[in-house]
Amino acid sequence: MFTPLRIDPAKLLGEVSAFQRKLAAGMESLRGMHEPEYANTPREAVYREDKLTVWHIKGNGKPTSKTPLLIVYALVNTVWMTDLQADRSLVRNLLEQGEDVYLIDWGYPDGADRWLTLDDYLNGYLDRCVDAVRQRHGLDAINLLGICQGGAFSLCYTAMHPDKVKNLVTMVTPVDYHTPDNMLSHWVQNLDVDLFVDTLGNIPAELMNYVYLTLKPVRLNQQKYVSMVDLLDNRKEMENFLRMERWIFDSPDQAGEAFRAFIKDFYQGNKLVKGTLTIGDKPVDLGMVTQPVLNIFAEQDHLVPPDASRALGKHVGTTDYTQLAFKGGHIGIYVSGRAQREVPPAIHQWLRSRD
């Protein structure tokens, strides 16, 4: 019988001093590093309203697809995850495949946006964004790509405005909010959302970030930074690290009323799959989504468990439903090397066969 710990004392001292040396040297390498830019693929604003902007992303060549693709991101965090850095950019890869890509940048809500409801967001803002793209192309319907909460919004929108959506792609989208492994959902079940929103008004981004970090507290608050020490002498890797940190923590507050409804109706009531959801006065019936649907989810997603996304297949009305599982996490599905190789081509080919 041996001991499981076989740590040589001399090696231990070396390990400890090496860590401190790296830290000391890291101070020098960090000094003078500027905030890393996102990929900033060339883009043009084609529609603005209040704080939102619809951007048309410009590729090197002319798009080969006939139908434009509008990316609908979540209200939490920013859409620039899809264009994080030049060699890890979903939008850039979609452009290279031949897609004509637009995306909605929701902006940063403030006190003036406190009373925006889901109705305002979906039947107001999103509908007008879709109209703007439709009008630019003279089309009755366009393709939507909804991400995370934006995927849930896209599903609702498609159910309410079926004539304006040709094909729907959802990525890491929660549909069934009551799967047993959904930690976020579990935590909010006993939350008095009315008291929460009435007290806070808009929900501060820092509070949202804090909640996300506590999903894996040791890994995200400590181990990540311990591992960062090994990157300190590698400027490029440190830039990538800082860029991701920028994206994680540069996030908007949540408009109070929209947050209230999203937690109550989606997380607590699970109304999307129960078929009891209404937005404004419009009923949202997933059975009304008869367009082709491509549903992509991440197998190691700690924010949106795979089963929460898989549920879409059972509830959506379409006869043309494709489901793809990606080996990775909620963020890795956009920025990992594997994602660059696999996800954009899969989306493009699926769309092309329905263009």
């Binding site: 960090l30 305002d120 181990q223 990606f326």
Partner: protein
């Protein structure tokens, strides 16, 4: 460990302390009046990282003198317990404890998870604790007076009756929040203890040569796995859900009562209040909706005929699905095709649909047919 090794460690610790001081100074000001300050981005990251890194570095140092190294057939479990739980040590010497815990429920506890929670420099999370402390200090003369005079349970009366009642309600809400917070923290502490037990179990499976842990980083990573597993199990429990909800709800109640008192003071000073601004914002938003609807733009509210049409659409879709389900059951089972991107994909097409769906023929793609 030999005297020489101890001397080396002492010298090393002095040097390490200098390094930390330099890091902390670099966060506070530029190195020289002529050197540019570290940009905001790296400052932010360093601020966030600092608590975790400092705890980890302290833990490394504690490990170096703990006797965890060179364990032949010795009592590795005792050394492990000493290292992770710091039994019998003052909190200040604990690897995972530090300044962030002063004044928190974790103060005085050797508790790795506490760092993960309390070490984060987060205004939203810690602002409340600070706000609470300031509030208590500001209110101390009055609360002391009221408590002494009337007690929390005594009926309020006289000219200041309303104020007394507000204050009593706030004190009661704070007490309830403290209870709820303690309940939550107890679960976090349990997660930490469970994490240590899991670590011990994981290590017990690694006694074979070739599977042994040979570095502190490997030991730390194993502990993180164990701690996260233990935490996830507790965080998904009904007990945690109840405690979490209660803690947040109680905190919101305290904040709400504080806001009411603040608003009362603002009104006395003739200053606009948050409620008034909210009320104005709500009216503006309602006006915008009405204006847009009147202008014939995309209505934010469906008109009555629209709503009726939507309801009919839903009904027709439901009927169609029902009929389609019956037809399928009668004629053919629903065909399900599975395709994989990396690992798994599923393509569901009802028989009438065209069958053109193909997952992209990318690397790592597998196709299987159910």
């Amino acid at each position: 460990m030999s005297d020489h090794a101890n001397d080396v460690m002492k010298q090393y610790q002095a040097w390490a302390q200098q390094s930390w001081d330099a890091w902390m100074q670099s966060l506070q000001r530029p190195a020289s009046p002529f050197a540019p300050a570290a940009p905001a981005s790296s400052d932010d990251v360093l601020s966030r990282a600092m608590g975790g890194l400092k705890s980890y570095a302290d833990w490394l140092q504690a490990a170096a003198t703990s006797g965890i190294a060179g364990q032949g057939q010795g009592d590795w479990q005792q050394a492990l317990q000493q290292l992770f739980l710091g039994m019998g040590q003052p909190a200040a010497a604990s690897p995972f404890m530090g300044a962030p815990f002063a004044g928190t429920p974790f103060a005085g506890m050797n508790q790795p998870f506490a760092q993960a929670f309390a070490g984060i420099d987060n205004a939203a999370a810690h602002g409340f604790a600070q706000q609470w402390q300031s509030w208590l200090q500001a209110m101390q003369p009055r609360t002391g007076e009221w408590n002494a005079g009337f007690g929390g349970d005594s009926p309020a009366f006289g000219y200041t009756r309303e104020r007394q009642m507000q204050q009593q309600a706030l004190l009661e809400a704070m007490r309830e929040y403290t209870d709820a917070s303690n309940r939550y923290n107890t679960l976090i502490l349990r997660a930490n203890a469970d994490g240590f037990e899991r670590l011990r179990e994981k290590l017990a499976e690694r006694t074979d040569p070739g599977r042994q842990i040979d570095s502190l980083k490997a030991l730390y990573d194993l502990w993180v796995d164990a701690a996260e597993e233990a935490y996830a199990q507790i965080a998904l429990s009904d007990e945690f859900r109840d405690a979490y909800g209660a803690m947040v709800n109680r905190q919101m109640h305290v904040r709400q009562l504080q806001q009411r008192q603040t608003e009362a003071w603002c009104r006395e000073l003739g200053m606009p209040t948050r409620s008034e601004v909210d009320s104005l914002g709500k009216r503006v938003q309602e006006l915008r909706r009405e204006l847009r609807a009147a202008a014939g733009g995309a209505p934010s509210r469906a008109s009555a005929p629209d709503a009726e049409l939507d309801a009919l659409r839903s009904e027709v879709a439901a009927l169609k699905r029902k009929l389609s389900g019956r037809a399928e059951a009668a004629h053919a089972p629903k065909k399900v095709v599975s395709e994989s991107l990396g690992a798994e994909a599923e393509n569901k097409r009802k028989p009438a649909a065209r069958r053109t769906a193909k997952a992209a023929p990318t690397r790592g793609t597998q196709r299987t047919r159910k």
